[in-house]
Symmetry: C3
Subunit: 298 residues, 3 copies
Amino acid sequence: MSDDSHVHCGTQTSRSNDLAELREAIAQAVRDVKAKTPLAQSFTNFVTINLVANAQLAAGGTAAMSFLPDDVIETAKIAGANYINVGTLLPFYKDALPTIAQRLNYLGKPWVLDPVAAGIGKTRTAILQSFKAAPPTVIRANASEVIALANMWGLLDADKTSRPAGVESVDEVDAAIEPAKLLAQFLAASAPQHKATVAVSGKVDLVTDGEHVYRLPGGSAMMAKITGAGCSLGGVTATYLAVAEPLIAALAASLLYDRAAEVAEAEAKGPGSFQVAFLDALWNVTAEQVASSEILAQ
Amino acid sequence: MSDDSHVHCGTQTSRSNDLAELREAIAQAVRDVKAKTPLAQSFTNFVTINLVANAQLAAGGTAAMSFLPDDVIETAKIAGANYINVGTLLPFYKDALPTIAQRLNYLGKPWVLDPVAAGIGKTRTAILQSFKAAPPTVIRANASEVIALANMWGLLDADKTSRPAGVESVDEVDAAIEPAKLLAQFLAASAPQHKATVAVSGKVDLVTDGEHVYRLPGGSAMMAKITGAGCSLGGVTATYLAVAEPLIAALAASLLYDRAAEVAEAEAKGPGSFQVAFLDALWNVTAEQVASSEILAQ
Amino acid sequence: MSDDSHVHCGTQTSRSNDLAELREAIAQAVRDVKAKTPLAQSFTNFVTINLVANAQLAAGGTAAMSFLPDDVIETAKIAGANYINVGTLLPFYKDALPTIAQRLNYLGKPWVLDPVAAGIGKTRTAILQSFKAAPPTVIRANASEVIALANMWGLLDADKTSRPAGVESVDEVDAAIEPAKLLAQFLAASAPQHKATVAVSGKVDLVTDGEHVYRLPGGSAMMAKITGAGCSLGGVTATYLAVAEPLIAALAASLLYDRAAEVAEAEAKGPGSFQVAFLDALWNVTAEQVASSEILAQ
């Protein structure tokens, strides 16, 4: 049971340093999104851009999508958080995305990165490498992408690298624990209040702020049978990041996704009805259901 | 009751100048789309492009989406009407969209504009300003966008401007009545048969041809919880514009949307099932249901 | 009944040359996709890119979408097959798509082409003409597009041309039999093992390897009321092409689509619920149901 897990205190007294506090902060984030309908802006891939927006709306937020640096920066000034997903690159992204990341960081705007397909293509690698100098506040990825990105930023020993395999992870979440912690520590060094988080999606989701590691069991295997489960989780993480600190945002989004997926699986007859039921469940799952989820802290 | 509303006669005898005539023309437009499956072409944003096409199909029309000026102009020659939505701009749109608008106007092809996020970004502003010299036949927007566009085109006193707020309106529909009428009058001056219309979406939709103002109560608050309600309404307005004059097209599309939204809300358990039920309702709502809607004329 | 149809033996003894063998190969392809979850990569239009991915996942495969030549080629090396759809062109496609086709052919990677709107626009024509020198393994199109492409490649007498009409076919499938056979023969000449196939979608789908012609009755008229039925069929054909030869892949995909459409039509209340039920049915229809479909060989 998660309530039996022991969480070691961090050095920062402001950190939610036990599970009860964590649960209260998660519940508050879910309630705040429903009450405040915060705007999270996305620069995301064309495959799942519609689901990202609809998931953000279903969670209670509002959405705006932009690709021109000019539009992104101007919208970032009125958005609570931002989301960058490097899925379907176009030629102009090579210059646009590094510029956008630099401006977001310069303006102190928190953002979530989904390094989709990290390791595939020179342009994607150049873009992801550029983010090392202007890092996100939260990374949401699968295990392979986390390992690839940590390696790309020189945070890993050379023998811990993994090959990319399209957009599907070929590595288990456990293989990404150390890379995820190293990434989170690296992000925190330049983040507002030195707080950052890495969320690794898999059979059991894993969330770490660089110090603590939380495992989130549950969810549904059907999530892999609709496109955009991971992408839209990144978007919803940005929605929560508009009202909460990185660790709470990543936990709230991942837990909401796991609970909604379970509800949807129970109702669905296939991937079509699963996606419909999943969006309904994002809307209907309560702050209390999210916050009382099993959380395995280590 | 709408039947008690008094509509002042216009100066053009060809105009449908009382509600009974208006209702018959609306019913005819709905029937004509179902019978003729007209092609409406769209240049629209990547977030909701799929819903725009599916909504046009569900209303009875056919859809084609293009971005290259060459493709757009060639398709415009076989399309009954066109739709331009400036949502997710790419760099080449800065030249492409002014060129397309000029060519559509030169060819006398009617088109609907959705000035999404008017006021945000230099490129969007440059594009929207260029449309003043080659204006659309119908504008479909929220109140903030209508005000921003009217201001951008120099149709408003400086003190009537409003700040943009992402893609969500921060202004009530009533604040946009005068700007909408001024815009409609401006569009009409260069439109075929001098007929043009502006539709303002909000809690109560508002449609004006620059002379009369029609309020359309009803609809569903769930429409704001799926992405693309407004965008796809613009697309369906283009579908009706392929078979009807601007005022009738805007009224028919807005009324169909309100009735379909009400049906969907009654069936839905959340935003996922709402969108599904909404598309079904666009298909099932009859011409008579659309035409007998409450219409408040002033 | 399809079992009464006589299939003339081909000259290649390795070809599945009677319907029983054909049915067994189709069943095996459907089972293999469910068992192996092969990756098929797509370069496809923005309108239906989400449905393409979701249909590939529902059929049992995995999906990756790319647009940069660099990304496409690198992903092609780990994908079982590829899919190119020329729907919504952007300026850089003019150089990117010919380059990608050449590289795919040089690397011996099988790919499916959907020549959407063939005949409309100079850029599309230039791209499609370039594919003659680096042809796909399978073409999936409507009758008008098949005729336009065969004409564009100089395979037809001048008097057999047809005008394009947006993305909707204006020609019946029968008018495309000869062009489809000529195209298939042309593709086969440069294909791995000299095997290629052309699938023509219509009221009755038609599939030919250049020698035999198979008609596949059934399906649902509702398929024309959702956007992307044809596009996603191209994508699912690529999924099957990752585990089967061209003829089997095209037959399996088209038959799966027809059976799933019939199931969906029986459950749907309109195009919204039709699409949901269709994705569910892609997931639930069995290999045996697909393989026992009516197939009219000539």
